[in-house]
Subunit: 308 residues, 2 copies
């Protein structure tokens, strides 16, 4: 991964960034809240990139490319975020905007696909899998024969908005009973607090399972929703593995053990696929964005070669 | 499509076959019940193939290949049907068995994938779509960039066994609330009769919608289940089109109109994909099996060339 890449991973809670020089992550990175009183998600992205550009220059490097992983419906080819409910974006030309502002080739892609790209870099033998990042939202990257499925209009991967509970909880997307309304870190925390509990994060709620009936109920609904999604993906796509990533993926056995048990008990007519935690870890999104940025630089050089 | 191909489309109710000479279907074909008092599904397949071989010879042709589309978990590479609940098959080496019996190169594949192959032959511009044959069962072939997704173990396409109703009706696979338990032609007919209605086929029930409350209820549940499956596929894979085939697909507007309306009303955060009836029609499975058989012949010739 050559060059000086500014990598950004946009989440519903924070925007994280890091500078990668020839593939090696440099300190310090930059993390800012996605939403503050004074600015929205785009302001956070620009603030992180400005900080990273400063870091790169302080280290004696001029940035050569930007890679960005973002939630929502992302048309990578057009460089557009078509719709991101959690971020408040509709038809945002993010790639063009960042290229104009920072003057370097930029690529954007769906956050699940960038994270899956990192997972493949760490585990090159993995060819047919579904990567499910669980954070503020829930999404998925479907990888078939080593290639991520982008869909006819670049809108694949919205696992968070599959229906799992008929007439269930309202979702930010306008539907009812979406997986994301039960299984995202945001939903787990919100439901626990709404039920009268007190916690700072979904990981806190996970830690109370087995000791607190409310935590048990909320966690069990999250696991049930994810199991439904995984069984559906398994039935239709037959992946060799389901890889769980994102913030909630870091809950490890607290999530994976009941999830494997639930999928195994519900899936009657075939063996379940392996269900594992991301090896690329919580920074998969950032590493994937760096790999994407590196591709932006290559394709830009390629384009230059073709039009001398 | 060169050669003399015996094409077989195995369904839960009937096994259909036809002889294709250089791609042209010859009369007479052969259709037998999948199950009779004296034999099971394999007997029906052998009976159809024997009849087709007789037809071919009567026309002055020696069969050169066999192509078979079958429901269930099909490992095309190994030529095995791993599991087919409706047919009572587990680990059946169907390809090897037919090659031994008829002495010509044979290929087997999942019935949805063979039908999707026919759809692509009829509509070559269609590259990213999901083909959903609805007959005795419900399945799906996911096509990404013109290639059918077979899955890590060749077991992709079991859309009939995605969970759509929590703790719902028992399914032949052992699960509860599967799509197939509501939306297959078999389920529609069985539920209508169990509710006190009288009909010969699912198409009869479809024809009573709007005039018979029981038919309305049964059909509405089928449409709801299919809508759930289509929204899930759309969210995760973003196909450009959903193509409905199989016996129930032939119900046309009776199925497609309420299905489009339901998907459109439930899917809040993006435009729905087009939902269309198979252009290859009710004989898509048979045409696809013929195309598969033609590939068997080509790969066999290729293998012979490599080991002279």
């Amino acid at each position: 991964m050559p060059g000086v890449v500014l990598a950004v991973d946009i989440g519903g809670t924070t925007v994280k960034g890091a500078v990668f020089v020839d593939g090696v992550e440099q300190a310090p990175g930059s993390t800012v809240p996605t939403f503050t009183a004074s600015s929205g998600a785009l302001g956070a992205v620009l603030a992180v990139l400005s900080a990273l550009a400063g870091t790169a220059r302080a280290l004696g490097h001029e940035p050569t490319a930007i890679g960005v992983g973002t939630p929502g419906l992302v048309d990578r080819g057009a460089g557009m975020v078509r719709y991101a409910a959690n971020l408040g974006w509709t038809d945002l030309p993010l790639q063009q905007l960042l290229e104009a502002r920072f003057g370097v080739p930029t690529l954007i892609d769906h956050d699940a696909r960038t994270a899956a790209r990192a997972e493949m870099a760490v585990r090159p033998a993995l060819r047919d899998f579904v990567f499910i990042p669980i954070g503020t939202g829930v999404s998925a990257a479907v990888v078939v024969a080593g290639k991520t499925v982008t869909g006819a209009r670049g809108q694949a991967g919205e696992l968070g908005h599959i229906p799992t509970v008929p007439n269930g909880r309202p979702c930010s997307c306008g539907q009812f009973g979406c997986l994301e309304a039960y299984a995202s870190a945001g939903a787990v925390l919100a439901r626990y607090i709404a039920g009268g509990g007190s916690a700072e994060s979904a990981a806190d709620v996970a830690g109370l399972v087995g000791h607190d009936g409310l935590a048990d109920d909320v966690w069990s609904d999250a696991v049930d929703g994810l199991a439904t999604g995984i069984i559906t993906l398994t039935a239709t796509l037959d992946p060799e593995e389901i890889v769980i990533g994102g913030g909630l993926g870091a809950a490890g056995p607290l999530l994976l053990d009941p999830l494997r048990a639930k999928v195994g008990s519900l899936l009657r007519w075939r063996d379940p696929p392996a269900i594992s935690a991301s090896r690329a870890g919580p920074r998969a999104g950032l590493l994937g964005a760096a790999l994407l940025g590196s591709a932006a630089r290559s394709s830009s050089r390629h384009a230059n070669q073709e039009s001398p």
